[in-house]
Symmetry: C2
Subunit: 352 residues, 2 copies
């Protein structure tokens, strides 16, 4: 029997509450579909940082390399500055594992309310493909005249042809598998002089190689407006690190699913494990109360299993999860229901 090695990093706050449920649900699906999972749980988190001064040990990345996939809960806590917790764990994993494609499915699920008037599941079903390791998230730059009235900060964004082309290729190939076969590019070449015209050139070059895919492009400002006004226009959207970051939070917001959507950090060449995490954060305000919505972690584990090729197990989890969304008694409070974390999980386990 096939056994997958999965690294689990529950992280902080509600991450620690929901990830164990995701593991149990994955195990149940595994038993029913004839495979097994060997879990290794890492306590890397802000708590660890406060004790040891490090979010993860020096050889953390090396340790992770031997796994088939990484399952992450949420990282961040008010007692540790964000840039410490993120540049000490999440961002190095994305980079050093070359997880250059961040993927978010934006889908309005049955039983979930969109904040947009009159929208139903057919209207909102697209994917944001975000470049995940370069672009605006660069370590280049710095400060001058610190502490004086003449102080200034420079931030450099770096766009390579290699990095740009491979994320676009990923988007086009993803679109080829979908019915609509359309790729939209997020740009801002009318205002940002160097990086975005380059992005547009590469998008045009890549489009020419995929004559079966229809393409268009919007500047990021009006694109966010179209998410709200015309979400039905989109199929696959390809975006730089920063623009993708924005669109992949705005997308779940219009689909009413910020608290439940999954996010995948993919290394398409499978040189290294890919990492799967819910979109939601550690939620200090509700952590420890037993009321966190476990759907994010559960939807995430389904995507992880699909990535490993266990499509039937993934589909089973998604179907059970979808069932729990149909009744107020089995949904958590953030979705207008009355269930606790455990109550919602039990419904899903029963459905499986």
């Amino acid at each position: 029997q096939k056994t997958y090695k999965i690294a689990s990093i529950p992280g902080d706050g509600i991450g620690k509450e929901v990830v164990p449920h995701g593991q149990i649900i994955a195990d149940v699906a595994a038993r029913q579909h004839g495979f097994a999972i060997e879990w290794t749980v890492f306590d890397w988190s802000c708590e660890t940082y406060l004790e040891t001064g490090q979010m993860m040990p020096d050889d953390g990345i090396e340790q992770l390399k031997k796994f088939d996939a990484i399952y992450l809960g949420a990282v961040g806590w008010p007692t540790v500055p964000d840039h410490v917790s993120l540049w000490g764990l999440l961002l190095p994993i994305r980079r050093e594992m070359n997880q250059y494609a961040n993927i978010r499915h934006i889908r309005l699920l049955d039983g979930v309310q969109s904040p947009l008037a009159g929208r139903s599941p057919e209207d909102i079903d697209f994917i944001v493909v975000r470049e995940n390791v370069e672009g605006e998230y660069s370590e280049l730059g710095g400060r001058m005249n610190r502490g004086t009235p003449d102080e200034l900060a420079i931030q450099e964004a770096v766009f390579t042809r290699k990095g740009t082309d491979r994320i676009m290729k990923y988007a086009f190939e993803l679109a080829q598998k979908r019915a609509r076969k359309q790729v939209t590019s997020a740009t801002k070449s009318n205002g940002i002089k160097h990086s975005m015209p380059f992005w547009d050139e590469r998008f045009a070059a890549m489009s020419a190689q995929y004559p079966d895919i229809s393409t268009n492009q919007f500047h990021i400002d009006i694109l966010t407006a179209h998410f709200v006004r015309n979400p039905d226009w989109f199929d696959v959207i390809v975006a730089s690190n920063l623009f993708g970051d924005i669109l992949s939070d705005l997308g779940p917001a219009i689909a009413g699913s910020i608290g439940i959507a999954p996010s995948a950090n993919i290394n398409p060449e499978r040189e290294f494990p890919s990492m799967f995490e819910p979109v939601h954060g550690s939620a200090p305000d509700i952590a420890g109360k037993g009321i966190a919505n476990p759907i994010g972690a559960i939807w995430t584990i389904a995507e992880l299993l699909e990535h490993l090729g266990e499509n039937a197990a993934a589909a089973q989890i998604e179907a059970a999860m979808q069932q729990s969304l149909m009744h107020d008694e089995t949904k958590t409070a953030d979705l207008g229901g009355s269930a606790t974390t455990q109550g919602c999980v039990d419904t899903i386990l029963n459905a499986m």
Copy 2:
């Protein structure tokens, strides 16, 4: 009698159709409120560029300096690359006139439909204050290894203490004039390493100087989500050039007013004229058909007159404009009505 000198740049597409109406309406208000306007119309546009190779003459900026304000329609046309038309006209005016504050009022007006479910005018009433001359819109950066597989583009963003502090000061002073007295900072210091932590430091320093103002901050990704989910949380939002650009299109989108909202490019010290333009673009798809919505240009001229201190004239125009929004027969098609441009303008003139 007081006479204002206003430079009018109708620009391209529907800009040329709506700006003349805005001028007529301003003249009517002027007569009723005891002042006069001396208009100088400049034909600077993409058409000019195609004839002369320049969006405006070499001494264009010098010519504009002697006016009390600038009224702009829309710049951009498909036959001219965006970065040419914008860096040849709009962006140099903003910069060389030191119009460092870009202001957009986001208001859900009576008679306008928000795409958000269940929202009414009390829920959406805030202001985006965008830094307008530095930050991510910088000319620094370039390309290496052009045309080869190793090609890369670097884009630098420049944040000075002077530029950051003055826009924050503007936001805090604006908030002091409003009932709620709240300023929200748009940041991304968890992912963007140099510029955004600097932005946060300056925001903290400025907050300390305004103890009467309550403050908070959100990362730009989740902030766009909150625009959709919780627009009622906001009063004044201060943002960098790029983040402000995004928020000031997303804002009008949630308020149903992308086609009608005004935008002000302010030089707060009044060393140079400020520039007022509608949020909408040149709209090549409907240009020349007589169906463009003139409300954007009219609301814009009202803001311009207010900036000149003619508050009563501005209020009169806004009230007449508001009236035209209350009936389908006097609204244009983009707002679900049946009026032509002229029909809508006539309603407003009659109401005045």
